[in-house]
Symmetry: D2
Amino acid sequence: MIIVLKPKISKREETAILREIKRLGYRPHLMRGVARTVIGAIGDELSHQTLETLLTTFPETVESVMPIQKRHKLVSREAHPANSTVTVRGQVIGGKKVQIMAGPCSVESEEQLLTTAAAVKAAGATILRGGAFKPRTSPYEFQGLGVKGLKLLAKARAETGLAVITELLSEDHAELVAEYTDIIQIGARNSQNFQLLIAAAKTGKPVLLKRGLSMRIEEWLLAGEYILANDNPNLMFCERGIRTFETYTRNTLDLSTIPIIKKESHAPIVIDPSQGAGRADLVMAMCKGAVAMGADALLIEVHPNPAKALSDAAQQLSLEMFARLMTELKPFIAAAGRE
Amino acid sequence: MIIVLKPKISKREETAILREIKRLGYRPHLMRGVARTVIGAIGDELSHQTLETLLTTFPETVESVMPIQKRHKLVSREAHPANSTVTVRGQVIGGKKVQIMAGPCSVESEEQLLTTAAAVKAAGATILRGGAFKPRTSPYEFQGLGVKGLKLLAKARAETGLAVITELLSEDHAELVAEYTDIIQIGARNSQNFQLLIAAAKTGKPVLLKRGLSMRIEEWLLAGEYILANDNPNLMFCERGIRTFETYTRNTLDLSTIPIIKKESHAPIVIDPSQGAGRADLVMAMCKGAVAMGADALLIEVHPNPAKALSDAAQQLSLEMFARLMTELKPFIAAAGRE
Amino acid sequence: MIIVLKPKISKREETAILREIKRLGYRPHLMRGVARTVIGAIGDELSHQTLETLLTTFPETVESVMPIQKRHKLVSREAHPANSTVTVRGQVIGGKKVQIMAGPCSVESEEQLLTTAAAVKAAGATILRGGAFKPRTSPYEFQGLGVKGLKLLAKARAETGLAVITELLSEDHAELVAEYTDIIQIGARNSQNFQLLIAAAKTGKPVLLKRGLSMRIEEWLLAGEYILANDNPNLMFCERGIRTFETYTRNTLDLSTIPIIKKESHAPIVIDPSQGAGRADLVMAMCKGAVAMGADALLIEVHPNPAKALSDAAQQLSLEMFARLMTELKPFIAAAGRE
Amino acid sequence: MIIVLKPKISKREETAILREIKRLGYRPHLMRGVARTVIGAIGDELSHQTLETLLTTFPETVESVMPIQKRHKLVSREAHPANSTVTVRGQVIGGKKVQIMAGPCSVESEEQLLTTAAAVKAAGATILRGGAFKPRTSPYEFQGLGVKGLKLLAKARAETGLAVITELLSEDHAELVAEYTDIIQIGARNSQNFQLLIAAAKTGKPVLLKRGLSMRIEEWLLAGEYILANDNPNLMFCERGIRTFETYTRNTLDLSTIPIIKKESHAPIVIDPSQGAGRADLVMAMCKGAVAMGADALLIEVHPNPAKALSDAAQQLSLEMFARLMTELKPFIAAAGRE
């Protein structure tokens, strides 16, 4: 850690700070600069207590305390220089092929799901998405079909061979959801629900971790660390838009996360343009941008009749729009050197 | 709902939209304006499907769809015009007295907790706060004492007569935590963990619902609705700072929530300046502002030795600072016509 | 406008509101809904006073007032359904060719500028960027070469044939800057400096309008309206990143502005990934995404020796990096059906 | 500056970095830590070039570069430990008395202004606010009376003895506005229009600098530095709300700026709750909070007939509401130990 002292402090005050740094397990190293004296506190920040307490203990003499170690370990590129990949039903996420995860926001009925599954498979998707348990802002909105939805997903998988991804909302459902799905999705609202992260990790199933609405990159990496630290190596990050002042779009899709996650971590990065935009008419352009920037997979909401959808109607693509999207994406996938 | 049509649409297109509105259960009412034609769709928005799907069904003709009903019901001032109050161990929150909830960020040891409890009681606090289960951004940080922490809280309560508030992190702990605490706290990271909200509500204990880091007022009210809709009338809202672009403070404490919650809801509003500022030196001024603006209670982090705190060291007040705060607050409490 | 009334208001209150609406020049149209009564106020919102004052005049009876007309006119797609283009020195922005504007953040010396100009031209750029007047957060930082910088830009143009873009900082410099540049750039900090917008428009030179750090789409369109309403048809919008809570990148580049500006306006959209990311290592991916999503031009900071740059050193590409970028962009430009 | 190196770099790479640091004018000081090697670069950061370029020059070896000096000087508490005050027409801002600046958003007519001036004076205000030049988001909105408005302000001052504050929008008007006003206001949209800041400073009139919509504290202090560095000691900071994701209020009034500005700077801090809330019904509570937290002055929009106001109608107080506010504020002013 780096401790910056205020100007004009006495020798006695300086000594007191140095003593406290030693007491907290660090070896202090003094540097007298032109405008400020700076102390380098040598020691492993991850195994010792933070020195930020110095700000409270010495409010008159300590100006700022800056950690220098990154707090994420297993999730970092340093820990695992090569890309890691996640394989479900023979499909590799994080490899050469850009994987397409598509399906309805919510599983609503057998017909709705099977129609969608067949159509997205025909258009080139390899993974079927669909919510069985839905987190809803209001208690009066449709909360998903629950177990019945899970069974329909399993049926769709059996019929099409598509792998399945669905959201886990409750620790108590971890075993249940893991029984039916190939990938567990952690939603944006639960991205720092650490108990849920641990429960998801312990099922052993691959985990797709959405970025929270106001999550900084470092917090997202640390949330991912909860998965890896609980002995589950199959982690994927998924950007789905952050909350900003802009109201034109539901969220602001931060595509810079693609090169950033690639730089900081070895785990695959997936983009969800449907949540990001909240408007079907913007999804097409966002998918092209995501693929061009190196996304490993896309997660797209598709519904046979968006106007009748029980949730997030405004952002789901129709089957025709999805088929057209898949066609239009091809040259960009090729340009990116992917399949 | 109000549907705004784009200019220059044909009679045939208009008819199609009107038909769809009827099909979705609303009675359309056409108004031809100077620049736009607007349709009022008459029907209960809370029991019918949203018309926002019209944006997808008629992308070329529908410009915007605006709901007009507020989505929260039980939590609204309309539903309960008088202030509601929450009573714990004889202390009324939301009444004439400004209640002070104080204690350490984390319960760390018997000595730490009992010392703090005695000191905050002596200074005028009526409720003891302390985290037994701690949500931590990194899996490698101190996660709380768990059940042992709960037992220490109960012991402190027995010795001092202070009521107790502590955070619930996991649905699986709802019964356990409810057994020891007087108030269940839902933290900012779990403010839209709806399963946890329901589990907390069902314990029957009063619930203090912190605002999420990027939660809009309407979403906060709707999260509160989850408590009331699950038959628990003892809800308190707690502002603890929102995430903004500013980095000087850890969060931006939004004190305007005090008059806003008072206007929109009947439930008490509590202010947590410790989380809001993340810096002990700003807590004093924020408490004064909160009391002047009508806060029903304050939630303040106090530690006998902040420099040795195992979590959030930089924002905890020492016992001396807390006693001074309580003295300095008095004239503002009087000015606000409170006790 | 749409006026939503609170529930349970008296006939007399309703009449008073209707009278006030008429007085303000609108024709009221009453709709009784299930949960609320709604009034449609018919009249041109752009030429009449806003009815938002009803919230103040009738605080007990009016719940909300919603405008339905968009406030931008000349800049809108409605006003000009075809794409508009801007032509400088034979280069068309907004046409089939993706134009590349490249050059140093600041003009620092003749050698620096001419070296860069020759190199970016060789790599395929058609427009030379370079700041002569620089807005700096601190008064103690390098403020640009001023007129000397403008003259160097003119010299570089004479030698290479590249068109020139440079920032206008002061109304008083409008004529001066217009004399030397082909495109006037309005920076993010001045995006709502309306006097400067008017002065820039009046020079008759094409104007590139950067989005302000916290500018909503609607405000950006309205700022563009200031250019068109002052008889200058040559407007370009330029996204350069917005300010969010994220601190990993300097700003959050909002690439969704590409399809949004294309949808709402006829003017070209330019992307500035250098300011957006603040880090040279992210610029490459962002350029690919921008081109894939349909950007009409890119504005890229390039410096012959970024480490010695007098401003924004961390985000400028070296000449070699720029040449590599231009090569790597080619397949994405082709995939987007552009040149 | 502190330079953090990546792990596992070679001796040769380290030497290259040290050489470059010396070349840029700093004296490097090496500290080998447990997880990272850190270099302290000793030298005055304000007079030397930033070392952030090392990130670009050595992308494979330098992990981060952290400045340790604050960039503001004259504006800082360090430079001037006592509070500074601004005196206009015998009224001291920053002294014991909480000054109230009140008046209409825009000057609209002689009657409107004189009525307001007399009423706010009678209620206890000492400074009259009123916009003569108005910055408007749309070019089609009322832009103020201009010179005629300035003359009316002067007339109101002559009649009431109130000092006057009005906004400066254009460098070209600096002399003109200074001729009529006692305090020059720099609005939020122009808070980083540095040419305007310099022009305002040079008039010698006191300057009230509003915080920009997305301005960090450090940037605000540096904008203030532009005033002091141009030989004008009469600077006041004014918080008027920042832009966040919240849409319930127009802006989020950040009252924590009161203790923060007091801590970092010697200049007075003024709060504008009218812009901050955008709703008259929230202004009352915000004024109480501001006074309790130590604001030196309040800037409040008051209009004899808010419903007919030509700008910002929804947020202006009526004369009666203002008189009531002044009465209700008294006990809080007393509690704060002010007059």
